[in-house]
């Protein structure tokens, strides 16, 4: 009888010790928030345009974490889809055309002499990139504009243009070489040819 009690006692003690360690570890190494949502959110372009059908990028990140498709963000385009696919270990699918097409980076520009100072665009801008006051001329802080398009619609006099950000000598980047496929000469005659030139 004693041995049985002893065994139970020892096991109980062990259980208590490990329970204590686990409990401490849980408190000590506690992870704040939902890390996967954070990670997804970090990959989204933060344009906050709502084209994905969510009021901002974070809500879409939450939706993705809950199983929504990863191809609903046009500003991010294929690059973002690829990154999301890598993160979530799912297949990269083409962009869902229902949510819009990928387009060149743009920035909003207010034709300032036509602005009537209604402040409607300020209320629409998700990142506070528009400067102005009631009945005063408004303007867009180009560096802060994400090009989300949201201020264009509310403007009652249609004085906001979305202007493409062109390439300057400072922002220009090297092209990728065309690679092997572009060459017509092959070392071995049996190499598969993509294109025949004579």
């Amino acid at each position: 009888m004693f041995t049985v009690l002893l065994a139970i006692g020892v096991l109980l003690l062990l259980a208590l010790i490990f329970g204590g360690i686990l409990g401490y570890a849980n408190v000590r190494f506690h992870v704040e928030g939902d890390p996967i949502v954070e990670q997804i959110d970090a990959l989204l372009p933060q344009t906050q345009c709502g084209q994905c059908g969510h009021p901002g990028c974070r809500p879409y990140a939450e939706a993705i974490a809950n199983g929504e498709a990863i191809n609903h963000c046009p500003p991010g385009g294929q690059a973002t889809i690829q990154a999301l696919a890598d993160l979530l270990d799912v297949e990269a699918v083409p962009l869902d055309g229902d949510h819009g097409a990928e387009s060149a980076a743009k920035v909003a520009v207010i034709r300032e002499d036509e602005c009537i100072g209604c402040t409607k665009c300020i209320q629409a801008c998700p990142v506070d990139a528009i400067l102005g006051a009631a009945k005063q001329m408004h303007t867009v802080i180009a560096d802060e504009c994400t090009g989300c398009d949201l201020c264009v619609e509310p403007c009652p006099v249609d004085c906001i243009d979305m202007v493409e950000i062109g390439v300057t000598a400072q922002t220009w980047s090297w092209e990728k070489p065309q690679g092997i496929a572009a060459s017509a000469i092959n070392i071995i005659a049996t190499d598969r040819q993509t294109e025949v030139t004579h």
Partner: protein, 914 residues
């Protein structure tokens, strides 16, 4: 003097040197070109900011652009002449893009600006000398154009073990540094000594490749003659020993760790060209306006080194070196290994251009097509940075940026050694450059998206806080009104005795407001005066004038306010009929309030019962109750209406028009609110009706409400007409002078409003059109509805346009009549001796003239707009044209006639004035 120890670095190649060609001729000095093009971004960092304007004459060496931040540089005029433009020009850049440049037309006089050498540089503070160097526009002339003073500052942070002068010049073809050492040995040594003093380095080594014997001999001769401590380290010829990190390794045996700078291991590197420029800047006071450049390549008949002014177009240099257009195959800026092909020869020489290579087809043949990597490992053998080029190629091709970075892609110096040795002729460096720029872009995008996220979250937090605050306020208000209602219910009769002070209240209220205004005005005045004082001290002339104006204005305003206050505080002593009206009004208002409260209570009760009824649809009792309450409600509402109309005439009877307008406005507002409320109620009921289509009761209710709505609308109309009348009435009564001033601002306001409305309506038309187009594209069934909307919107826009035109006309006619009236008025006034003679007439005339001018401008703008629109419509030639085409020409005609009229009027007026 013992020669220093030479170490070695990994890899490296031995391409054909091709340096002899450009050393056959002595140093050349090309003539002045017809124009110099000076890009504002010749260095790493922010582009310079222009300091002179187009058309300005500048002297040789004058600063024409200043630095634009910490990492930036100055720019100087290379010769005297005129600034012909500040515009986009093609620059020497691998992209072939253009950038902002200053264009200078030389006048050939070579007139120097005043030079300020820093003679006693040994005695000067290091920061002072560095500032001087910055102002002389000195940047690193070896490669990237890093501002020299920034580099020196970074080096002076930690003690230096070595100060290395880079004279290796390892790249094939280039001999500019070689020639510079031969030509300017003394200047070079002195420049090195200045820099040595600045950075307090003991160990100064000149690293030079053994393929420059003449230069080495010249250096050694001069150094031993001066007894200098500076050492000359002759390194074996191997590409790329001139790379900063490679040369450091050669001379010190130390490797610069990945991601760090030479300064971190106590080494500073400077190019020979920079040292000479430092000498010129300190001892001669000459800014960096010229440099040594190698012109070479088989397409040139006279390859040579030249000392050339910055901004000289390359075409000019090619002519100077007798280029053979037929042989020229590729024009390269820089050497064959690290240079880049130029699309156009019109680009200018900048501070970092060390070589122009005009190569024939044989010299630089088109590269062989790329083949697959065979993993031969030759690139790894050649890489001076000890990287694994084939791995980097792999990751670059598959866009695995993280892995590429992990394999130290950013340590690649883009020397091209790997591409040179690759048997598969893979353009490896191209891949790395592309990957590097994509990574850089991604980083920038990340920074931007982080910023956007921050701002988005900050905005959300702010909005939430605002909403919470509003909610809290709303709850507080609710509680307050609830408390008030409970206290008010019992002492309803107490309101009687409180009437007398209530009558006095409005006057004292006004007085209070005025007092507050005065206080505000006084503080403002004080502030302005303070500012004025400060401005006077600082001697800002323009500010002083502006502030003076503001102060006087404020003072007059204050005086006016004080006058009004004294008048008002005087009025309560002689209470006229006005208080009577207000006293009468007070009880009526009280009753009205009570009745309204009753209405609200009854409404709530009815709602409750209705809910009950929904639960128990057959309960006859509740139905009866509802009917009873509804009857009560109707009677109370009737009372409310009666009282409401009673207050209206009462207030109308008030003696002063100005005070009468306010209550009418209040009524108007109330009536409008009523209309809106009734509308909402009807809508709700309609919804109910939709749910229970056979409910006769709701139908009846709707009918009742609709009737109410109609009456309410009628009152709104009546009331809105009333203020108009009241506003016109007094203006007729008062003198003609006042009439114009009083009626002008409201008209102007209306006009503005109308304009804005018109703009909005037009935008709406545009939007609807867009929607229609989209709908038509997808053949949506709503297209018809949208079309209908479009027609409506267009109608509205044109209506508003017309109204606007009418309004503009109206103001004009009233203006003209007013001015006529004024003119008439001024005649008797001037004749009457006792009235202020003629002085008020002059400003009135001036005002009228100004107004007329503005009108003229508006009319002209109208014509232009109409013309533009017509042109546009013609261009489009669409169905909209049919709708509006008839309208614009008419408008144009109208505007033109108006303009003619106005012009005639102005002429007449000016003649009259004369």
């Amino acid at each position: 003097m013992q020669s220093p120890q030479i170490f070695s670095f990994h890899g490296g190649i031995h391409p054909e040197e091709n340096k002899a060609q450009s050393l056959q001729l002595p140093l050349g000095r090309p003539s002045l070109p017809s124009e110099l093009v000076l890009p504002l971004g010749q260095h790493i960092g922010q582009a310079s900011r222009p300091l002179v304007n187009v058309g300005d004459r500048v002297l040789k060496g004058q600063i024409i652009a200043t630095n634009n931040g910490f990492l930036s540089s100055y720019l100087h005029a290379p010769t005297s002449g005129t600034i012909a433009g500040i515009e986009e020009r093609a620059i020497a850049h691998p992209s072939g893009l253009s950038d902002l440049c200053m264009v200078l037309w030389p006048d050939g006089k070579e007139e120097w600006t005043e030079l300020n050498p820093l003679d006693n540089w040994q005695a000067q503070d290091a920061t002072h000398v560095l500032a001087h160097l910055a102002q002389m526009g000195i940047v690193g002339m070896g490669g990237a154009g890093f501002p020299t003073q920034v580099k020196l500052q970074g080096a002076s942070k930690s003690p230096l073990t070595h100060f290395i002068i880079n004279a290796a010049e390892c790249e094939p073809y280039i001999t500019a540094d070689d020639m510079l050492i031969r030509e300017k040995t003394a200047e070079l040594i002195e420049g090195i000594e200045i820099l040595q003093h600045l950075v307090k380095a003991d160990n100064v080594v000149i690293g030079i490749e053994d393929n420059k014997p003449t230069a080495i001999a010249a250096l050694n001769a001069l150094l031993s003659e001066r007894g200098s401590e500076i050492q000359v380290a002759v390194v074996p010829t191997k590409y790329p020993s001139g790379g900063e990190k490679q040369l450091i390794q050669l001379l010190t045996g130390k490797e610069v760790p990945s991601g760090q700078y030479p300064a971190d291991i106590g080494v500073l590197c400077q190019n020979v060209g920079t040292c000479v420029a430092v000498h010129d800047a300190i001892l001669a006071g000459k800014p960096l306006i010229s440099r040594f450049t190698t012109l070479t390549g088989d397409a040139l008949q006279a390859p040579q080194n030249v000392e050339v002014l910055l901004g000289t177009p390359i075409t000019h240099l090619l002519d100077y070196a007798d280029s053979d257009e037929t042989k020229l195959h590729r024009l390269v800026m820089g050497g064959p290994m690290m240079g880049y092909t130029l699309d156009s020869a019109a680009v200018p020489i900048v501070k970092t251009s060390n070589c122009i290579l005009a190569a024939t087809k044989k010299e630089l043949p088109t590269p062989n097509p790329e083949q697959a990597c065979i993993r031969c490992g030759m690139c790894e053998q050649a890489c001076p940075a000890s990287l694994l080029p084939q791995q980097l190629l792999w990751f670059s091709k598959s866009q695995e940026h993280e892995k590429a970075e992990h394999y130290n892609l950013f340590d690649c110096i883009e020397c091209g050694a790997c591409s040179y040795v690759c048997p598969s002729s893979i353009p490896l460096v191209q891949y790395y450059r592309h990957t590097k720029s994509s990574i850089r872009e991604a980083r920038e995008a990340n920074v931007k998206s982080d910023l956007a996220k921050q701002r988005f979250e900050a905005r959300k937090a702010r909005q939430d806080a605002e909403a919470a605050e509003k909610e809290a306020k709303r709850i507080a208000r609710q509680q307050a009104t609830a408390a008030k209602a409970s206290t008010k219910a019992t002492p309803a009769e107490q309101a009687e005795p409180a009437k007398a002070p209530a009558a006095a209240a409005p006057v004292s209220d006004e007085a209070k407001k005025l007092k507050i205004d005065i206080a505000i005005g006084k503080t403002k005045l004080k502030k302005r005066q303070k500012e004025l004082l400060a401005a006077q001290e600082a001697e800002h002339l323009e500010e002083i004038q502006a502030l003076q104006l503001q102060v006087t204005e404020q003072e007059t305003q204050l005086a006016a306010l004080e006058a009004r206050l004294s008048k008002i505080s005087a009025t309560p002593v002689v209470p006229s009929s006005a208080p009577d009206a207000s006293r009468e009004k007070a009880p009526v208002n009280d009753e009205l309030k009570k009745a309204k409260v009753d209405v609200a209570l009854l409404g709530v009760k009815i709602k409750k019962l209705n809910k009950q009824l929904a639960d128990t649809p057959d309960d006859q009792e509740t139905k009866d109750k509802i009917a009873g309450f509804e009857k009560d409600l109707a009677t109370v509402q009737a009372i409310v209406k009666k009282l409401g109309t009673a207050t209206a005439p009462a207030t109308k009877a008030a003696p002063e028009n100005s005070t009468a307008k306010a209550p009418i406005n209040g009524d108007l507002k109330k009536a409008k609110v009523d209309v809106a409320l009734l509308g909402v109620k009807i809508k709700k009921l309609n919804k109910q009706l939709a749910d229970t289509p056979d409910d006769q009761e709701t139908k009846d209710k709707i009918a009742v409400f609709e009737a109410d709505l109609a009456t309410a609308k009628a009152t709104v109309e009546k009331l809105s007409v009333a203020p108009a009348e009241s506003s016109t009435a007094p203006s007729e009564k008062t003198s003609s002078n006042k009439a114009t001033t009083a009626s002008a601002p409201p008209i102007a306001d209306d006009l503005k409003k109308l304009k804005i409305d018109t703009a909005i309506a037009k935008a709406a038309v545009k939007k609807v059109e867009k929607a229609l187009k989209k709908a038509e594209e997808i053949q949506a069934p709503e297209a018809d509805a949208i079309r209908q909307q479009l027609v409506e919107a267009q109608q509205r826009a044109s209506d508003l346009d017309k109204a606007l035109a009418d309004a503009v006309n109206g103001t004009k006619t009233t203006d003209s009549t007013a001015t006529e009236a004024k003119a008439e008025a001024s005649v008797p006034e001037s004749s009457a001796a006792e009235a202020k003679p003629s002085t008020p007439a002059a400003p009135a005339n001036a005002d009228a003239a100004k107004k007329r001018k503005i009108d003229l401008a508006i009319a002209k703008a109208g014509i232009k707009k109409a013309e533009k629109n017509i042109a546009l419509l013609k261009e489009q030639g669409k169905d909209e044209a049919e709708i509006t085409a008839s309208e614009w020409p008419a408008k144009l005609l109208e505007a033109q006639t108006k303009l003619a009229e106005l012009e005639a009027a102005t002429d007449a007026q000016s003649q009259e004035n004369n």
